[in-house]
């Protein structure tokens, strides 16, 4: 055996799983072919989403972990607990803000409604006439590639990394494209949109997104600004959509999203889509139009049919564990994902119910008993 666990993918999900399992005493080998993934492309907004109770539980729990970890993270991880403002564009969206306030408060999260005046005072760059916003205090931001690196290195020697492209996984054997064979009793698939290459039955589809970053303009925006249309309409349709998402980076740069497109795997920036996305952001923050955008790029989210990740052992491939399908929320939900996976692997009671995220919901019932590592095995 080459390790207790082999993890395929060193993005934020693979890194968080490696960290969690190494801290429990396992020897972890992380493989990545450096083709790059969503972790390097995304926004790193740590945001509690509540499309359903399971999404809220996973994101809220995970944001709490990031907040604890932030004390030890290096500057490069660029963690800030700057909070999010969910912007209401009309009275209907204000009602949505109120409903969201109730849901989040019931979950014990700190949030408050800002009226038109309070919103203007908080974020003067926003356009006139917005009726208000919901402020979620616990949300934050992160520079995800460096956070992944931090997770892979903070534990010391129990995590080994190796560059290589995994061509196939058969039982406890991982075959690289150069013919190398590596073995471990547990293999974790954490390779984002590429997971179906190694497990063709996974219902994962790429969802393309555009981003743009501006030059440095410190002090103009302090919270991450997201439109409530993000939840009410825009992104719930199946066609291409855009929503206003403006995130202040610690450097003073403004990070602008977001767009969503299915049915394409072309990474090229799509001019009209980018323009639509920027127009949407300018709608909310008119002054943005005068700022200098220095770079635009795209990335792909790994979308599952119900928007929740698949966390747990593959029901028909004993020893193959899944941590995939995190869509547009994987940076946020990486810590909770790792905890759920580890709890199942060690046969422990997870910190919250694991059922909504089990791969069985798409892949069918389990053949055999789940593989598990008795807790005493942790050295």
């Amino acid at each position: 055996m080459n390790a207790d666990v082999i993890i395929v993918g060193s993005g934020i999900i693979g890194a968080a799983c490696a960290d969690e399992l190494a801290r429990r005493g396992l020897e972890v080998l992380v493989l990545d072919d450096r083709r790059g993934g969503a972790t390097a492309a995304g926004m790193g907004h740590l945001v509690a989403l509540d499309d359903n109770p399971a999404e809220l539980k996973l994101s809220d729990h995970s944001i709490g972990r990031w907040r604890e970890w932030a004390r030890d993270m290096d500057q490069g991880c660029a963690y800030r607990n700057n909070g999010s403002l969910w912007l209401a564009a009309n009275e209907q969206e204000m009602a949505v803000a109120e409903a969201k306030l109730k849901t989040l408060r019931e979950a014990g999260m700190a949030c408050e409604l800002l009226g038109a005046e309070a919103l203007r005072a908080t974020e003067p760059e926003l356009r006139d006439g917005l009726p208000g916003a919901l402020k979620v205090a616990g949300d934050g931001i992160l520079y995800a590639p460096n956070a992944a690196r931090w997770l892979l290195t903070r534990g010391g020697r129990r995590i080994a990394e190796r560059q290589g492209r995994v061509a196939a996984i058969e039982a406890d054997e991982v075959r690289l494209d150069d013919g190398t064979r590596l073995r471990a009793p547990v293999v974790v698939l954490a390779n984002g949109i590429h997971a179906p290459e190694l497990a063709p039955d996974l219902p994962i589809e790429p969802k393309k997104g555009h981003l743009l970053i501006t030059d440095r303009y410190p002090g103009r925006v302090s919270h991450t600004l997201i439109e409530l249309g993000y939840v009410t309409s825009a992104h719930n349709a199946s066609g291409p959509s855009v929503a206003c998402n403006i995130q202040p980076r610690p450097t003073g740069q403004l990070f602008i999203g977001s767009s969503r497109q299915f049915g394409t795997s072309d990474p090229a920036v799509d001019g009209p889509m980018l323009a639509r996305m920027l127009r949407r952001a300018v709608d909310y923050m008119p002054g943005l139009a005068k700022l200098n955008g220095i770079r635009a790029w795209t990335g792909f989210r790994a979308a599952s049919p119900d928007g929740l990740p698949l966390i747990g052992e593959h029901p028909r491939r004993p020893g193959l564990w899944l941590a995939v399908g995190h869509e547009g929320l994987g940076v946020t939900t990486a810590p909770g994902t790792a905890e759920l996976l580890a709890a199942q692997l060690f046969g422990e009671t997870p910190p919250f119910a694991a059922e909504p995220y089990l791969p069985e919901r798409f892949l069918g019932a389990r053949d055999a008993q789940r593989t598990s590592i008795p807790s005493e095995a942790g050295r």
Partner: protein, 78 residues
């Protein structure tokens, strides 16, 4: 010839010069200060690398893609 101001000092350049040329003629050639504090200068000269960002009359512009105009105020600091 065109007269403009670079970080408060007068500079004279030939008509048709870019602001990047004015940086070289009237200053030390640098355009901006990076997050880490180092000075940076135009590199690609074709609007791609973004190293030549300066403030022209209060608006952030690419020096290599901007032609000098009479009375223009160009700032490279902070």
């Amino acid at each position: 010839m065109i007269d403009l101001t670079l970080d408060g000092r007068p500079v004279r350049v030939a008509a048709g010069s870019t602001v990047a040329a004015a940086l070289a003629i009237g200053g030390d050639g640098t355009s901006r200060t990076a997050v880490g504090g180092a000075r940076r200068a135009p590199l690609c000269g074709m609007g791609i690398c973004q190293e030549c960002r300066v403030t022209v009359d209060g608006v952030r512009r690419l020096a290599c893609q901007t032609l000098c105009a009479p009375g223009m105020q160009v700032e490279t600091r902070p």
